[in-house]
Symmetry: C2
Subunit: 241 residues, 2 copies
């Protein structure tokens, strides 16, 4: 199973890169050199749609338990959102009946509570009934065991399927006429499998760049890597957009 | 990998059954005992949404190659569409670089061309770039190797990701105001992950029962097993439905 998992992760990574390149993105650049909201290009929001593959967030304490006393997360690759990164570290995620995902990437920086974000396909393969939740909302969620090179952590809760969401700054929110906590929808136009994702939660923050996060199931359902168009609109009917 | 695959298949089967029970379905029954279009209940179309897990269609010749001279498909479980069934037989599907799916169900009856229908997740795990195609449209599609207990078949083409579609009879088509070959859309209302699937091809046939077929990626993206509502409408805007 190892080989398959690793190959899939590599492919997902390549797909994500291809999407990011083809659908815009890259560093935030202000057209006239003036101060511009984070991520804007040529005076406008620059929509990026990213597939968030399965990953883990850890507390400082759990980093030390899993990777040894004094261990800290080591950034390997920056994420699009400034200050966030994929760490060099991975953990094994073990579900009930000893089914496991051997190598799940840790994202940094550390958090106040550890959390495992899976696609529904992953949760089926682990045998964990992961509820759809927004990040951080882990009350009454199932747990799992994390295994690192230096130790293991029994999480009593924190395994979720991350709900779709869109990061944006306040200038982006003004542009779309939405506020933090509102819902939007994303239409992906793709040959023979166009899809509208509703229930896209707005997470507005001063420093955020405009970026939709969907998971691998959602990305696969709409064949995002072959998409010809992405449209973000306020909830309601996309025909009025 | 075997154990994971088998468990996943079992879970998918349970999910499909739960959906079929919760979203209607069951045997076609005419309310007043009179002749009624196939699948209608209480004088109306009875919408069923089914997840089509990965499967294989075979020619008579390939059945004999894979399972031995004189072998025929043995029905194990009828599908919702009359005359179609999941066979007892399964095959191993082998992609490039010796990656494989060990046990993929064969559906019957046999066809004039063999065909492998995968979700995009499956095709990633196999390392095959399966295009989205409607069943039978296999020109210029990739091939694979099928392995059965009595022999192997090298398919030069036929590996596809089946495009979403809806089976219906002509009375259903009249009800929705569509014709064979038209496009419709399906809205799945599900907690925090409602999704509209566009590009749903109408496949109208006298004997068909109303049934949408989506694949496991699509079913997982919208968490179909927890869906509270399904709505099938003509293409265009669902707000006008």
């Amino acid at each position: 199973m190892n080989a398959t998992q690793i190959d899939r992760t590599q492919i997902e990574s390549l797909v994500r890169q291809a999407i990011q390149q083809s659908l815009g993105g890259g560093p935030s650049v202000a057209a006239d050199g003036s101060a511009s909201p984070p991520g804007w290009v040529n005076g406008k929001p620059n929509l990026r749609v990213s597939i968030s593959a399965r990953h883990v967030h850890l507390t400082d304490e759990h980093v030390e338990t899993l990777f040894g006393p004094g261990a800290v997360l080591e950034p390997e690759k920056p994420l699009y959102q400034d200050g966030f990164y994929a760490a060099k570290q991975t953990v094994m995620v073990v579900g009930p009946r000893r089914r496991m995902l051997p190598s799940v990437r840790v994202l940094g920086p550390t958090r106040s509570a550890s959390q495992v974000e899976l696609a529904f396909t992953d949760s089926i393969s682990l045998g964990i009934d992961a509820p759809v939740r927004h990040s951080g909302k882990i009350d009454d969620t199932p747990g799992c065991v994390l295994v690192g090179p230096a130790g293991t952590v029994q999480l009593d809760r924190g395994v979720i399927r991350a709900a779709r969401h869109v990061h944006m700054n306040f200038a982006d929110a003004d542009f779309y006429g939405v506020a933090d906590g509102d819902m939007m929808q994303l239409k992906i136009t793709s040959n023979d499998c166009s899809t509208v994702f509703e229930n896209l939660l707005v997470r507005a923050d001063k420093a955020a760049k405009l970026e939709v996060h969907i998971d691998t199931d959602e990305g696969n359902a709409c064949h995002l890597d072959r998409a010809s168009k992405v449209e973000l609109t306020k909830s309601g009917c996309s025909c009025k957009a």
